[in-house]
């Protein structure tokens, strides 16, 4: 298996994701987060937020709203069982709140291998803007692909 470095620079189609209270509620249950700014509009506004707030890493959950979800794997022709998450970084410009409609744009910025091709690394950058076009966050993620052919001669 070898990944195609010509895919560096590939831009995925932008998509929009609506920030919904029910999704944040389930996300918070899963991560054990109980601060009321993530569930109660009155508490969130009292704390200085525009509304029920999305937790810091919920941004990655918004990316799951991509109608072309799994696009990276199809682009690379890689099975989902072979990938691991290598790195994730976010820069935050403004809190994301319930009612926001977020536009996400992702692109591939690097592809490289280590250990003689046993592991491949795909670096993606992402930008999220709100309905007014204001920048909310930037993301940078590294997906690790385990080469199923590694060790075979």
């Amino acid at each position: 298996m070898e990944l195609d470095k010509k895919l560096i620079g590939h831009e995925f189609a932008p998509f929009t994701a609506a920030v919904e209270a029910g999704k944040i509620k389930l996300f918070c249950k899963a991560i054990g987060e109980e601060d009321p700014i993530y569930s109660d509009e009155v508490a969130a506004k009292a704390a200085g937020y525009r509304g029920i707030t999305a937790p810091l890493t919920f941004l990655r959950a918004l990316q799951a709203d991509d109608p072309n979800k799994g696009g990276l794997l199809r682009l690379l022709n890689v099975d989902i069982g072979l990938i691991l998450h290598g790195e994730q970084h976010f820069e935050y410009y403004a809190p994301v709140v319930v009612g926001d409609v977020v536009t996400c744009q992702e692109k591939v910025v690097d592809i490289y291998d280590k250990k003689g091709g046993a592991l491949w690394f795909v670096v993606q950058e992402m930008e999220m803007k709100d309905q007014a076009g204001k920048l909310l966050a930037k993301g940078r993620g590294v997906t690790v692909v385990r080469n199923p052919d590694a060790g075979k001669k």
């Binding site: 999704k23 389930l26 996300f27 918070c28 249950k29 899963a30 991560i31 054990g32 987060e33 601060d35 009321p36 700014i37 508490a43 009292a46 704390a47 200085g48 937020y49 707030t53 937790p55 810091l56 890493t57 990655r60 959950a61 990316q63 799951a64 709203d65 979800k69 099975d79 989902i80 069982g81 072979l82 990938i83 691991l84 998450h85 290598g86 790195e87 994730q88 970084h89 976010f90 820069e91 935050y92 809190p95 940078r140």
Partner: protein
């Protein structure tokens, strides 16, 4: 609601109060599968995980990164968080007991904001780091 410390009161080397989490359960991984929209079966379907060479299912990296976020927002309100990033350095298995810890590594000013840099990490019951990350927060 979190009340932030003052920039002047924070010193390099200060440690955040660690977060010790309940053991990772299969139930939690199922909840995170639904809650995050990450439906990769490797985290919830042991047959699938074994087919790809793993002994069992394992936690989503982003579940642990959410724990880093919880630590940071237990120290400052979320609206003061400017950055959060991590490397996923080893796999978190079902049953692992994760401790989330953080300490101040730097203080600086940028674009008129007073910023504090933190090292944040997740460590398992064997003392092995599973996430090695960093965060930046703005303080008054």
């Amino acid at each position: 609601m979190t009340t932030a410390p003052k920039f002047a009161d924070v010193k390099v080397g200060d440690e955040l109060k660690p977060l010790v989490l309940p053991p990772i359960s299969r139930h939690q991984l199922a909840l995170y599968c639904g809650g995050s929209g990450d439906h990769n079966p490797i985290h919830v379907d042991i047959d699938f995980a074994k087919k790809f060479g793993f002994k069992d299912v394992f936690a989503h990296g982003m579940l642990s990164m959410a724990f880093l976020g919880r630590l940071v927002t237990s120290w400052v309100p979320q609206k003061q968080v400017r950055g959060l990033g991590t490397r996923f350095t080893s796999i978190t298995w079902v049953g692992d007991v994760i401790t989330v810890s953080g300490k101040v590594t730097g203080k600086r000013e940028k674009d008129g904001e007073r910023l504090v840099d933190l090292e944040v990490k997740c460590t398992n019951q064997n003392g092995q780091d599973t996430l090695q990350g960093s965060a930046t927060v703005a303080l008054n």
